[in-house]
Amino acid sequence: MIFTLAARELRSMFLSPMAWVILAVISGLCAYFFLLYIDLYLQLQPRLAAAPDAPGMTDVIVVPLFSTAATVLLLVTPLLTMRLISEERRSQTLSLLMSAPVSMTEIILGKFLGVFAFVLLMLVLVAIMPLSLLAGGDIDIGLWASGLLGLALLLASFCSIGLYVSTLTAQPTVAAVATFGLLLLLWVLNLAGSTGNDGGGVLSYLSLLSHYQPLLKGIFSSTDIIYYLLLISCCLVLSVRRLDADRLQH
């Protein structure tokens, strides 16, 4: 049932030009950054070769690419998640799901998986770019995989936050703006942490970015993984509750 809903979501996305445009823009932008980092690496290469214990190709190209991709996707995900529930609410198709023998949890999970599947597609586009380097060199597959895992978890968090915001409103645009604001806030929360005020540590801990960076460095810490999983499940539970509240609306 969850997969039926997810498949419908994915299908509807590809039936509008939106999905294709987003995929094109993402791969275009990321390809540009990829080339930029390759260029940088080629400039630095003579000096790196001389220095002992110098960063390798993966550190100079792949890690910055994933880091930039995260920023680009932060801008794009709200556009994908905005219509998940709000559009259904606005066009009153939600009652189709509500009167079908489907639970609210199934609806939310279906929606989440649908949009996450699309996001994974974008991720694949980004992930295969560094693999092309294998043709002429060697990259650290471990670092690549850990960065990829981080990016996947990060995107899943983006999706779940976007999904929750989408359940709050009947206006997709409102959902997009609110999601974008919220994501950006969570992204830069660690800036407050770095100034060294009281409570800065907590803010820094809550930031999406500060749990992504270790994974980019190849540090696989269960704390970071659990942070993302908690965030995702929390948003999903909230979404289910919010959707259920529609029936009890005042």
Partner: protein, 331 residues
């Protein structure tokens, strides 16, 4: 025969808004729907029809009361109960970017029809709703009438025991309305149908039983026959030429009053147990008047409807008034 009751609604109440003083949208409604019955829900706009239907289909939680579908409580086992219900809301819930076939397939999956039966179910639903040749077309490009049919197809695709249709003929042209009514009659062979409308002839044309709802309260629940009986009144309309004296008519047995409507036309009120039509005709011949019209008068459904709904309102107001007077007296 209790197992033949498909929907049982008991003391259903729904409040909107938290302030307890406000009038509930649906106020303590109880009714039953039997197998194979078409129940018409009639009421002015904002009477609580849609709210009731949305509660029956599990789209809205009731503030009080119980709804059982086929013996299953919709709040305790929503999934099981919803499997027996098909719902067409006021606005058909269509994904406009899909084709009719894709949409119906999604609905079939959503209603957990097993994979091997899906194609069959879609075919049957399409055939019954006259969608045979538009399967490959985008829903967005269909006319309103066809979209409405897709909405109905969606509601009957899993052959539910009860089909709930909220104003199914709104915005359709007269030919489409006739087709949809025909379809509804056809549905009643296999399903029970609950239908809401504010168009009165529609009820006469399609329903077995009528419930009139006004301001959230059930004010009338009757069979169509009962309703037709209510429509009969004890008066005749007479139109003649050369009539000189109305008072002669009063001499006929059973006639209570003769009211002039215009020059040639009078309304004759008679006792309900005696029909004086034959005697009147005889007198007309004897008097040498030229008979143009002699018809029994019927109250239209509209009149009954207005009577019931306005009577309810004035009763309410008088209650409120006496209430105010009482509080004033107490002060």
């Amino acid at each position: 025969m209790t197992d033949d009751i498909l929907i049982k609604v008991e003391e259903l109440t729904r409040h909107y808004g938290v302030q307890t003083g406000s009038r509930p949208a649906v106020d303590n409604i109880s009714f039953e729907v039997r197998r194979g019955e078409v129940l018409g829900f009639l009421g002015p706009n904002g009477a609580g029809k849609s709210t009731t239907m949305r509660m029956i289909t599990g789209n809205l939680a009731p503030s009080h009361g119980r709804i059982t579908v086929n013996g299953i409580d919709i709040l305790d086992q929503p999934k099981k109960a919803k499997a027996d219900i098909g719902f067409l809301p006021e606005l058909p819930p269509l994904y406009r970017e899909l084709t009719v076939d894709e949409y119906l397939r999604f609905c079939a999956r959503l209603n957990r029809i097993s994979r091997d039966k899906q194609t069959n179910a879609i075919g049957t639903a399409k055939e019954r709703c006259g969608l045979g040749d538009v399967g490959k077309r985008l829903i967005a490009n269909l006319s309103k009438g066809y979209q409405q049919r897709v909405g109905i197809a969606q509601a009957i695709i899993h052959s539910p025991a009860v089909v709930v249709l909220d104003e199914p003929t709104v915005g359709l042209d007269p030919i489409q309305i006739r087709e949809i009514r025909h379809l509804i009659r056809e549905l009643s062979n296999e399903h029970s149908v609950i239908l809401s409308t504010h168009i009165l002839p529609e009820v006469q044309a399609t329903c077995d039983r009528v419930q009139i709802i006004n301001q959230g309260k059930l004010v009338l629940s009757d069979s169509i026959e009962g309703l037709v009986q209510r429509m009969q009144t004890s008066s005749l309309r007479l139109r003649t030429k050369n009539r000189t004296n109305n008072n002669i008519l009063l001499a006929i047995e059973g006639i209570v009053a003769v009211d002039a409507i215009d020059g040639d036309c009078v309304q004759i009120k008679h006792k309900p147990e005696i029909n004086p039509a034959a005697a009147i005709a005889k007198m007309i011949v004897e008097q040498g008047w030229e008979l143009l019209e002699l018809t029994p008068e019927r109250r239209s459904l509209e009149e009954i409807f207005v009577d019931i709904t306005t009577a309810e309102q004035t009763a309410d107001e008088s209650v409120e008034k006496t209430g105010i007077e009482k509080t004033e007296a107490a002060a």
